[in-house]
């Protein structure tokens, strides 16, 4: 992180924080003594966001790795994703048979496992929304709409991957990891920025 970018970002960070943080009236000597404090103050929002985000990511993914959570929450959820994907594939004439989380037809078979259920993107989105400075109402709206939208995109991903495996098998590996994971994560990030812009933007200071 260059000093240059930091000094550039300082005014904007300050403008979004309270005006009371301004130290314009401080004597020069005090200002230089107070520099470390103003560094943290000016970046308080970023540091808080990143800390909370990292804690939620670490905590969330540790939670879903516990055996009990995996077998009682994640596995049934993954089963639901597999069933929904099977229904969607049948709707487009793929003549699908379901065996647990395995989706199969006469051309291709795929097992929907952890990592294919959209939970990763949901936790990243959840972390970014909860860590962002916004009202609880805005966070609630963001989480409900965002998590539904992420699952919808994940459903498209599973259907597209099945079709890729069935008709263009040599592209399946790259599509499975690089292409669709990038698309789903990118969608989560764009959704978060859209949410922050539309629902969670900080209110302007009132002049009362």
């Amino acid at each position: 992180m260059s000093k240059k970018s930091r000094s550039k970002s300082k005014p904007s960070a300050k403008s979004s924080a309270s005006a009371a943080e301004s130290s314009a009236s401080q004597p020069a000597a005090e200002e230089s003594n107070a520099e470390p404090e103003s560094f943290w103050r000016a970046r308080r929002q970023e540091i808080t966001f990143l800390t909370v985000f990292i804690l939620i990511l670490g905590g969330g993914f540790t939670l879903i790795s516990l055996n009990w959570v995996d077998s009682n929450v994640i596995a049934p959820f993954t089963g639901g994703v597999a069933k929904a994907s099977g229904v969607a594939l049948n709707l487009i004439g793929q003549d699908i048979e379901m065996q647990g989380t395995v989706i199969r037809n006469n051309r291709f078979a795929v097992n929907i496992m952890n990592g294919c259920n959209g939970v990763e993107t949901m936790i990243i989105f959840l972390g970014a929304v909860l860590a962002f400075p916004a009202s609880w109402k805005a966070r609630g709206i963001g989480l409900v709409l965002g998590l539904i939208a992420i699952q919808f995109v994940n459903l498209i991903r599973v259907v597209a991957l099945f079709l890729t495996g069935a008709y263009y098998p040599k592209f399946f590996d790259s599509s499975h990891t690089v292409v669709w994971q990038t698309i789903v994560i990118l969608f989560g990030v764009v959704l978060w920025i859209f949410w922050a812009n539309r629902y969670a933007a900080p209110k302007p200071a009132l002049a009362d």
């Binding site: 992180m1 970002s9 979004s16 990511l57 994971q181 922050a196 812009n197």
Partner: protein
């Protein structure tokens, strides 16, 4: 404080920029992947060997996208212990590049400088990620040998560490780095409600 239409559109310009940059960055990443995989394989091998006595780990390139983990003191019928798709470790660089190049209102010099720092942090993260992969394989994937050489605590440590590095932090790394550099630019440019 009302903002002008131009200021309000910062977020949309940024989102549009991501769409514009994603394909050129992906093409560059794809082109550089074989060389980068070779670099990561060698760097991760050196890091693993720093932590072992005697130095027995060899990481070998299997094909353009995979490395295989071998040990000189451990023979298997297939000749290697496990394989890792190296390309999967670093594909979030595509998002990182697009995010950092798409930021409006920042000079190109500054964009590339910040991208350079973020990419450098990512390189260390990728090497560290492969290191955790190898340790995870040793601690949990080699049956009796794993149980003999790693206690339950260390099996859980390397298992959970690999899980956290390989999923949440790998996938969230571009957003984490972008917000570390540009959060103070995003917040004032959001539409005021």
């Amino acid at each position: 404080m009302a903002k002008s239409d131009k200021e309000k559109s910062w977020v949309w310009v940024f989102l549009g920029g991501i769409l514009i940059w994603i394909l050129p960055v992906a093409a560059l990443w794809w082109y550089a992947t074989p060389v980068y995989n070779m670099f990561l394989t060698n760097s991760a091998e050196n890091l693993v060997r720093l932590t072992e006595r005697p130095k027995v780990t060899r990481l070998l390139e299997h094909d353009k996208h995979h490395l295989v983990i071998t040990r000189t003191d451990f023979a298997t019928a297939r000749g290697w212990l496990d394989s890792v798709r190296t390309t999967d470790v670093h594909f979030p660089l595509i998002m990182l590049g697009a995010f950092f190049l798409a930021v409006p209102g920042v000079s190109w010099k500054q964009r590339f400088e910040n991208l350079g720092w973020a990419a450098l942090i990512s390189v260390f993260f990728h090497i560290f990620s492969l290191f955790f992969w190898v340790k995870f394989v040793y601690a949990t994937q080699l049956g009796e040998w794993s149980a003999e050489h790693y206690t339950v605590f260390w099996q859980n440590f390397w298992g959970l560490g690999k899980h956290l590095i390989d999923l949440p932090f790998k996938l969230a790394m571009p957003l984490l780095l972008w917000t570390a550099f540009y959060f103070s630019k995003l917040v004032p440019n959001l539409k005021t409600t």
